[in-house]
Amino acid sequence: MSDRWRSLLEKICIPIGALVAALVLFGLFCALAGANPFGVYYSIYRAAFGSWSSFQNTLIQASPLMLSALCTALPARLGLVIIGNEGALVLGGLAAVAGGLTLGGWGLPTPGVQLGMALAGMLAGGIWIAIVGALRHYRAVNETISSLLMNYIAIALLNHMVNGPMKDPSSLNKPSTYPIPEMHMLGNLPGSRVHYGLVLGLVACGLAYFLIQRTTFGFAARTAGGNIRAARVAGLPVGKLTLAICFLGGACAGLAGMVEVAAVHGRANESLNANYGYGGVLVAFIARHNPIAASLVALLLGGILASGGILQRSHGLPDATVMVFQGLVFLSVLYSDSLYGRLPIFKARPARPASPPMATATPV
């Protein structure tokens, strides 16, 4: 067996092994709670991947996570740990509504309005995370904490706007903004109930991968992420890189907010704050900040979320069960990352170099 095959096998076996381990743990948990683990496995499979209809559910749940994950994954290339996805997402949604209503009011045709909404959402999310980047670069404010705080501030801002200045007076018992006219909404992919957000998510993940791996910008970012001081010495514009990459990350989360508004809700209200942000952070970390891998991990999480209902309805397990499942899967997958290069069966006969550096992490 050649080294290449060995390493490929390792990359396939470790994540699968992690999933199996999580399933075994979860099965034990279900057994303790009085449910038949094998019945539970079958139900999860049936509800998440079992038929085209249930797989669509998985895709629907996954698409906002793909975009949201990039908000963490892109800045991570510069060594920044940003968890402000939720904030960027809700503000993106809010701005998209504002943009859509304004442009729709001017009588622009649908493609124009949709483009405008997307740009408004991206701009809002982008600026929000760029602020985090700027605070990091110019004031050395810890980006993890500031982005966390800015989540709370963004959600308060959303609530304030939809309950006050942007409220549609006819949205009586659920304060919301004015709705985007039906004709300007994003539709579904032909022959499915999956909206175009999935395409946007996949395209964004692809573009992000290309940007990081194949462009000079990405090369500069990766270099700077490896060693900021060395990058400064080498004359790389670290400040501009920080702002640009934070803006791009935030723009992706903002776009996720726009998709939620333009494809699902039709207006902005507190439902926008649906934990896609923290889900995205987790997806990014599990994908080791590789955009292509992020789209696959998002599918996995989407599948878990899609199967949450069946656990309640068919097995009498409480609503929190899906959180336990999610937690076990993620803890197990995170742990499995440490196993690369440590399992004897995947070790090449001549000693391999130690664990590969982070930047070359590979798709799951």
Partner: protein, 386 residues
């Protein structure tokens, strides 16, 4: 300890938890969920229930879940339920899966925010399935035929609670902890106040908005600061009133409950409470459907709303602190609401800025559309909707 089907899962759960050791002390489990099986025979009616929060929240969602549980005793009815479903497209997927996998032919979507766009979208995809939404949003001609709305005028019960509160209060100051200044909530605040002021016009109600349907710390904080202000009866409109009731009891003041019966939490100070009676409503729907009536064939009305008279509401049994005269006054008010003699929103009513909102001589019955759009606080309420 609510119904027999819980027993089995509870016992299993106990066995499971005992096995885990660390939590082996858990012996008083209750309210694990049932495990409704998938669609039965052709004459079995399968109904799916969707809740926005945990179904054991001692409040809004629990009231619905208890209504659902009352259907277990009915022959030929199967139910399927899912809790903590957010108001995103996740709820569409849940309803779809209830229809596709569990074979549900009727869906009860119990959260206000499920209606637009989620219930409407599904109703288009499944014209043969009936969708019942809790919130009274249905509009003839605008919404699909297979969609219906149901809602209760719980402000009637709040009015009666206000009557009881007025008798109990020494300081003549009542407190209302509310989630958000939306019409449904404002209507409860106003009815509670009008009920109290029907006994003593000098009574005032302080309202505090927490901004969130569930925020225990802020609710407790609001309850405490009201107690500090000398307010001696509290009530609330939040998803789970547990914290408010418990805080009132600890501060030695009275409270009236909401959504469900919270008497156990405040054996001294619990006066009464405005409760939903969804079991009644759900049983009615089910018996109509079993007779072959549907929304589509006109057998079931699209808008089902009601108060005490129609069995949508009930009052919690009166607590020990309720005097005989208070009880009498409350029962009289309830009887008058049932008979229609008493109209809560009867002019002249001023708002708390002195503006007349309902002209003298004008009566707004419970179905009046003006009440659905309420954006004012009645005279005697301290606070603002701004």
């Amino acid at each position: 300890m609510r119904n027999p089907t819980f027993q089995v899962t509870r016992r299993q759960a106990i066995r499971g938890l005992l096995a885990t050791g660390a939590f082996g002390l858990t012996v008083k489990l209750s309210g694990c969920s049932t495990s409704p099986t998938a669609a039965g025979g052709s004459d079995t009616l399968t109904a799916g229930f969707v809740y926005v929060g945990p179904k054991d929240d001692y409040g809004y969602n629990q009231a619905h879940a208890e209504g659902r549980a009352s259907l277990d005793a009915i022959e030929g009815v199967k139910t399927s339920e899912e809790a903590s479903v957010p108001e995103t497209n996740a709820v569409q997927e849940t309803m779809r899966s209830m229809i596709d996998i569990d074979g549900a032919t009727a869906i009860f979507a119990t959260s206000f925010g499920y209606f637009d766009p989620h219930v409407l979208a599904l109703a288009k995809d499944f014209p043969e399935v009936q969708f019942f939404h809790c919130g009274g949003m249905y509009q003839e001609g605008v919404h699909p035929e297979n969609v219906g709305s149901y809602f209760g005028y719980i402000d009637e019960a709040q009015y009666v609670a206000g009557v009881v509160a007025a008798h109990a209060s020494n300081s003549k100051r009542l407190g209302f902890i509310a989630a958000k200044p939306i019409p449904q909530v404002l209507r409860n605040v106003n009815s509670f106040t009008l009920g109290a002021r029907s006994i003593d016009p000098s009574i005032t109600t302080q309202v505090i908005f927490t901004g969130d349907w569930a925020d225990p710390v802020r609710e407790a904080e609001a309850a405490n600061s009201m107690a500090d202000q000398g307010i001696d009866v509290l009530t609330c409109h939040v998803d789970s009133p547990k914290v408010v009731i418990e805080t009132a009891e600890r501060r030695g003041i009275f409270a009236t409950g909401y959504h469900a019966n919270q008497a156990e939490l405040a054996p001294q100070g619990y006066l009464t409470g405005a409760e939903w009676d969804w079991s009644n409503v759900y049983k009615n729907y089910v018996s109509l459907m079993q007779e072959g009536k549907t929304l589509m064939n006109g057998g079931i009305p699209h808008l089902v709303r009601g108060g005490f008279k129609d069995g949508f509401l009930k009052l919690s049994p009166f607590g020990p602190a309720v005097s005989a005269s208070a009880q009498q006054a409350a029962e009289a008010a309830q009887a008058q609401l049932v008979s229609g003699e008493l109209v809560i929103y009867k002019g002249e009513i001023k708002d708390n800025k002195g503006k007349t909102v309902i002209a003298g001589g004008k009566e707004l019955g419970q179905t009046a559309v003006e009440l659905e759009q309420m954006n004012w606080l009645a005279e005697g309420v301290m606070g603002s909707v701004g």
